[in-house]
Symmetry: C2
Subunit: 725 residues, 2 copies
Amino acid sequence: MLSFSCALALWLQASESAGSGQQYLVAVLGISILSLLVAAGLSKYVISQDTGTPQMQKISNAIKQGAEAFLKRQNRTILGLALLLAVIIYLGYWLGKGDATLATRMTISFVAGALCSTLAGFSGMWVSIRSNIRTASAARSSLNKALQISLRGGAVTGLSVVALSLLGVGTLFWAFDGLSNPTEVPTQIVAFGFGASFVALFAQLGGGIYTKAADVGADLVGKVEAGIPEDDPRNPAVIADLVGDNVGDCAGRGADLFESTAAENVGAMILGAALFPVFGIKGILFPLVARAFGLIASIIGVLVVKTREDRDPMQALNRGYYVTTLFALIGFYIAVALLLKSNMMLFAAGVVGIVTSFLFVYITQYYTEYKYRPVQSIAKACLTGPATTIISGFAIGLECVAAPVLVISAAIMSSYYLGIHAGLTGVSQQSAGLYGTAIATMGMLSTAAYILAMDTFGPITDNAGGIIEMSHQPEEIRSRTDRLDSVGNTTKALTKGYAIGSAALAAFLLFSAYIDEVKGLLHKESVLFNVDIGHVPVFTGALLGAMLVFLFSSFAIKAVGRAAQTVIEEVRRQFKADPGIMKGTSDPDYGTCVDIVTKSALKAMVVPGVLAVASPVAVGMVFRLFADPNAAFPVGTVSVAAFLMVGTITGILLATLMNNGGGAWDNAKKYIETGAYGGKGSDAHKASVVGDTVGDPFKDTAGPSLHVLIKLLSTITLVAAPLFL
Amino acid sequence: MLSFSCALALWLQASESAGSGQQYLVAVLGISILSLLVAAGLSKYVISQDTGTPQMQKISNAIKQGAEAFLKRQNRTILGLALLLAVIIYLGYWLGKGDATLATRMTISFVAGALCSTLAGFSGMWVSIRSNIRTASAARSSLNKALQISLRGGAVTGLSVVALSLLGVGTLFWAFDGLSNPTEVPTQIVAFGFGASFVALFAQLGGGIYTKAADVGADLVGKVEAGIPEDDPRNPAVIADLVGDNVGDCAGRGADLFESTAAENVGAMILGAALFPVFGIKGILFPLVARAFGLIASIIGVLVVKTREDRDPMQALNRGYYVTTLFALIGFYIAVALLLKSNMMLFAAGVVGIVTSFLFVYITQYYTEYKYRPVQSIAKACLTGPATTIISGFAIGLECVAAPVLVISAAIMSSYYLGIHAGLTGVSQQSAGLYGTAIATMGMLSTAAYILAMDTFGPITDNAGGIIEMSHQPEEIRSRTDRLDSVGNTTKALTKGYAIGSAALAAFLLFSAYIDEVKGLLHKESVLFNVDIGHVPVFTGALLGAMLVFLFSSFAIKAVGRAAQTVIEEVRRQFKADPGIMKGTSDPDYGTCVDIVTKSALKAMVVPGVLAVASPVAVGMVFRLFADPNAAFPVGTVSVAAFLMVGTITGILLATLMNNGGGAWDNAKKYIETGAYGGKGSDAHKASVVGDTVGDPFKDTAGPSLHVLIKLLSTITLVAAPLFL
């Protein structure tokens, strides 16, 4: 693999003379296709594994059926909405701007983004619901085997997501003749990012609501009321809970990171266009090339992971992460050497990004693992009951935003000043600085495929544990899947920290892309676009942006509550109607629960989704009415910019609070379950279960949905910009 | 009273010829002194009432002792810190700017603000801890009498706060020769606002931590563990809890609103200075005159309140509010006629402010009273246990920011455009628009004294209820104080909504004052000061501002948790050491609990307080290092502006979430206690107690402290501005 990279680099350098950048685009597309082939190979590897006992298969099939049925219905709903929006986009650009070519290109990009995002989510989940049983089966004989199957199953999601995003952006760039018109085409494919965000928003919302409604519902009636353990087959909601892990964590987060990579690639290309005088087309293609090298690094990382029976599987995963980071760094260096004239300041900006991702991973661990102070303090508060558990967890959630914000502030500032001092002549300081932040983002995202593989590892091992538990395997095997499951909880938390960190770092890519778009629309490329929040309408836009984040979270959380309520009622009904269920003499009706959650999640995702899409457009169009003839840019465009920026800031903070707060409550419970403060069954444990339940919709519904919201705001303002003029 | 106002208006008009504005200043100072005399009269009225049985007196004396001891120690701590800061301010301005006169004036203003704020808080509480027993005693015979005593006791706080603030600002303006130098003096007295904020921050933090540590501690051991009712004399923490109502709700909120009125008066005067070409000194004095008329209106409002045995006391209080509003409106009209050339656009801006305060009162009621959907939905969620109670309450908290933000957005925009279209020639559109928002703020604040009287009514009736309960009065009397107490809960919630609304509306006064200050320092009065958050260092400042709000709230909440822990341990210790306490045969040791909370509250308030004061200064001084020779204004000054503005936005949202979320949980419990969902003692009730307990530090510590934080940020940046250049 390493020698392949070297050969590739040499070939790229040799074909330099062509000068049009074609060879780089070919390389990007080639690596993307190669990565998809590797993903296919990994799928084949996973599928070829043993599928365990008939009882295990019965459970696994139930999960598979439920997950596929949900995803099919969800995709139908989302693609229906997307189709409607595609028509609106086409008509809007065609009638509004009278430009049929642009309208066609925008619409094609949007549809391509929506389809690729759906495909990435679906293929990832397809493998994941097949990996769970094979991981469970392998766990009967070997920890290493189980680890490898689950990570490689997860890697299918990771590789497909990043490769499809590169392939989509690269193909559109080529198809729209970007090679001969490199500075204009990037803004024509912004709708690819919007299509991806649009699908991701609903996928994450629907999946997030599904998973937590099932989980909260199952826990409240099962653990709290009936006193049966988690994943007990007597609980009618247990299959729905396991399905939820797949559709929420796996398909949802897959769509989330697909749109991150898509939106950030396009945003970075737009910033690269501003540097055309310095680097030519190479500055525009750099983001794609850097990501392609990151894909290779991730493949290497996934393949080196192995462990031994007596080792902590987290160490093995961390080793894979270090290897990935190392190769990503090398790849980044090669990309800078080939495309950015070996500019060491810009390479340093990339290193800033990579360091940032490391720090985010560390901070997230500090706030969510039980060996550190925060979770310990929550566990101690459990001794005085659920109220103090909640208060202390919420206080930790509020506290834990500080360190990430300081890191991000340092990263943004330093990469910006590295860009300014990179000696780029012929472009504005602002453009040079922003390109520095764009490169830092690329650095941070270069390990995305590996991180995503670790993330999807989470639901696979969680499911494997559930299958082992429900099929009554011996204690020794359970402890094996428990170890993997606990690692999976950590990796899931890390991915969320990573996703929000990259969203924060990437914020400027997308703000600047929006500003460039507005300038281009008004042919005011050289006029300064001031987002002066000291100006009343701009401040008001900012206030509304922050408010949207709160309101959206409220809707997401309420949706979980409402859907969970229906599950609780159904489980209670089944327990009452057939006392044999609790005795273990008759099977509960899992299908009804799956059905109920599916329906309520799909219904509940619509309102927050529409709110997110409609709000920025409404703000832009209302503020447009406050026309000010003296202003350099229409008030609507500036107010929307403030809406976007302050919405992003608030979103980053609230998502961090919810992700880490929820994770901390979860692990405080796990800590008590290790025997601390009275262990399982004690009053402290009961209090910790309340904390865990409160944290569930925080960390798995509202928090992750906020990631997508932030990026959706960026991409929708880009696409809808002509409406605000 | 009405005829007095008319006579005053005629006199003011008659002495117009003087032209220097002296007569207006005399009127403002005169009305302030008059209001203080009225407050003294009301105190005398309250003191002359019956003080009930010896047993009631014993309880009341214990509360009085505890409250006075706490306030004395707290004031010593705060004034010590303030003295230190006064020295720093003097040295900073003297050494840094080499201007001994300015240094002296800044320091005098700061000290005056700090002293007046302390005095206002102390005098309010002095009366309030004497009104409680008299209200309790009166409740034995007449609801009307009890209502009048408690409201008039509360009015002492309301009137002292607003009058002292006017008197302070007016006197300083006069003493610094503002009459002959009207445009410069307002910026010299900004430190008055800072002194007030500084004291208010610690008073609100200390009082807020005290009240909730005692409350949470008393509830958790008393209600939940020992199963004894609220305010049961067997609970050793019960006196500390009653003391807390006074030091937190009464002294804390008194200091909060004192600094609001002080900071907003000064801010409005600074904006008025920008309109000197149009209105001369009258535009600068207008805010003070409008507030003085508001004082008269509030006095009338307080005096007309009376009720009948069979009526809802809330109706009586509302009637007083309507009367106050009506007279405030008339006063506002007179002020506009006398000082602002009868400009009807500006009068309309004032009406916008008055309407805004009405809407805020209505929205707060909707989200916190149990007849409406939000509280109902929380109460229903209590049926499925504490986890769903918390989830649904938090979702309501997130939701409830939307309506206030929309109202504030509409108010800011409309008053801004009314200002622009007020036909003010010779000044910039920006100045005219901002003066419009300033006038709206004055409109909103014109009823402040009455609102504050209603607020302090809350802790007085709460205490009265406690005294009645603890002295075992008959059921009929209890139901009377219960009715008053429940009204008090509503008025406390309303005041918080009102305070945060006025803070949001006033934000621009203080931003603009800061910008004017920076421009003045650099002699760049005519250069546009852009707070462009699309610029990387400015965005970073904004991000840090939002982060501070989260971190500060975390510290405030953790402080309550920590202090409550000490109370819980002490109560458990007492129950264990002397089983006679629970049997009712021996008295618990109230004094130790009071002592413990006092110590831990004072200790716990220091860290968040110092964080709030140090952060904006640190941000300004760090960003100062990123000097940009091309920028119109130093990067430090602009980043701090963004820090301030986005910190304000985030603070408004988080405070609203906490205030209303906490209030909604509280009333969901009260609703269940009326018998819904199984009533007292049911599982739903237990769940609702958890919600109430979680909400306590939200609504009474973190939320109100955020109000003060927001305004402290404004005033400290004003005073520290020279450091950021």
